[in-house]
Subunit: 253 residues, 2 copies
Amino acid sequence: MSEKIAAIDPQPTTGINQSCLQCSLSNLCIPIAVNKDEIDRLEDLIKQGKTINRGDHIFKEHSPFKSLFAVRSGAIKTYSVTEDGEEQVTGFYLPGEIIGLDSTNTDSYSCSAKALERASVCEIPFSQLETLASKIPTLQHHFFSLMSKEIQGSRQLTMLLSKNTAEERIASLLLSLSSRFKLRKLSGTSFRLPMPRNDIGNYLGLAVETVSRVFTRFQKSGLISVQGREVVLEDIDALVDIVKNHSKCINPK
Amino acid sequence: MSEKIAAIDPQPTTGINQSCLQCSLSNLCIPIAVNKDEIDRLEDLIKQGKTINRGDHIFKEHSPFKSLFAVRSGAIKTYSVTEDGEEQVTGFYLPGEIIGLDSTNTDSYSCSAKALERASVCEIPFSQLETLASKIPTLQHHFFSLMSKEIQGSRQLTMLLSKNTAEERIASLLLSLSSRFKLRKLSGTSFRLPMPRNDIGNYLGLAVETVSRVFTRFQKSGLISVQGREVVLEDIDALVDIVKNHSKCINPK
DNA sequence: CGCGCAGTTGAAAGTTTTCAAATGCAGTGG
DNA sequence: CCACTGCATTTGAAAACTTTCAACTGCGCG
């Protein structure tokens, strides 16, 4: 899905934007045009509006895999526990994004999903979705698409971690959040981080202290303003440059 | 697919193992049991045995996405070029593994695929595959599965890069290759690395020199023997320990 | 036989982590 | 309404790991 952190472009929704599903976010998570009957079947399938409190789990790693979940509001983090018992954050999910796609090949969830703040989600039972998908080609296509995007997102994160400095990683995360907020018609320059520094560091492969130092540095350089979780991106272009100008472009000829 | 480097377990093939496809590797890449008619349709679909020379491309990033490819022999690397013009290796693919799953949501390939050594691949036109998948539920399920596995693999790589030292990353890669060779009934303890140190470093987010030093260190400790690309894993348990004992387990109570 | 690329090795430089400690902020109970 | 406790965040300084730069060795191919 969309912790495609390294991608600056606002990940345009793939499909057609004419869905008639009731949920106002469906154009983000299931933007397919289908006929009345199919819509009904989809709506029957999806259980809308389950509410989750901050810190509560939507599902836990190793528990039986049954459903995907679409985030309606709030923010979710996914994580798994490594062999040596450490938590590893694998993604942050915002409204319109879908959780669980990495577990469709196993009987159990390959990670846990926990609410970073009060949230609500739609449940999509997977086996029924598969059945429906084989009857509605565009739906099948859409889910191949979503999974493919999830792979690409993960690849980009991998690249970010493998080659980029702390500043580049954090600039990337900020830009990713920014563009994802914009997709929801929210401000892309001023928002509240749904997650603590700790999770940011964990996700980006950095020590908390490093995250904090980079925020401070960015603030001192006038790139952003931070007040706890509140962030204002003061100079997006500069942030983009940080991500792009990996090597400082001092190469003429 | 399978650069699920951090996973020590030999990633069991998900499906049923009764495929009657002619290709001897089909139990690795498309292990589904289908009826005669469906097999015929699958075989019509798949163009077998395209040969690629070392250094040749199977497809290039940004070129139109049409097909997935299953590796029959040889080894393939996938990579993409970052904004600053650097190459980033995103995966190594061995026989029985499938390339291109990360591109199914776009019109063009999201990475390039190049042969590390003389190789042969089967081409699987994607749009036809989708059509067939909507008629054969197990096939649809299998491809959801493959993609999900690809996501998990990428996640594991991400974790490896985000939290592990150079030694842990390389031990992981060696174990991953080992288990994947074993899947093909080859030796899991003695094999030839299909890729140069350079690509290993690139893939694992390490400088070539670091890769070299770690190999040397491992050899001095008696964990492995290396002679250029030839590797013998002398003490697999110790390698596993290196990957697992991230934190050295000196924590009683 | 020599060129050139792949791999190895050493030493210095740079980032990030780790350890320690201080500060801020929030919810709880008095 | 304030003090208190606990967690999140920030900061400083030293330690650790990896990279970078340089130089050398080895091997394959023309």
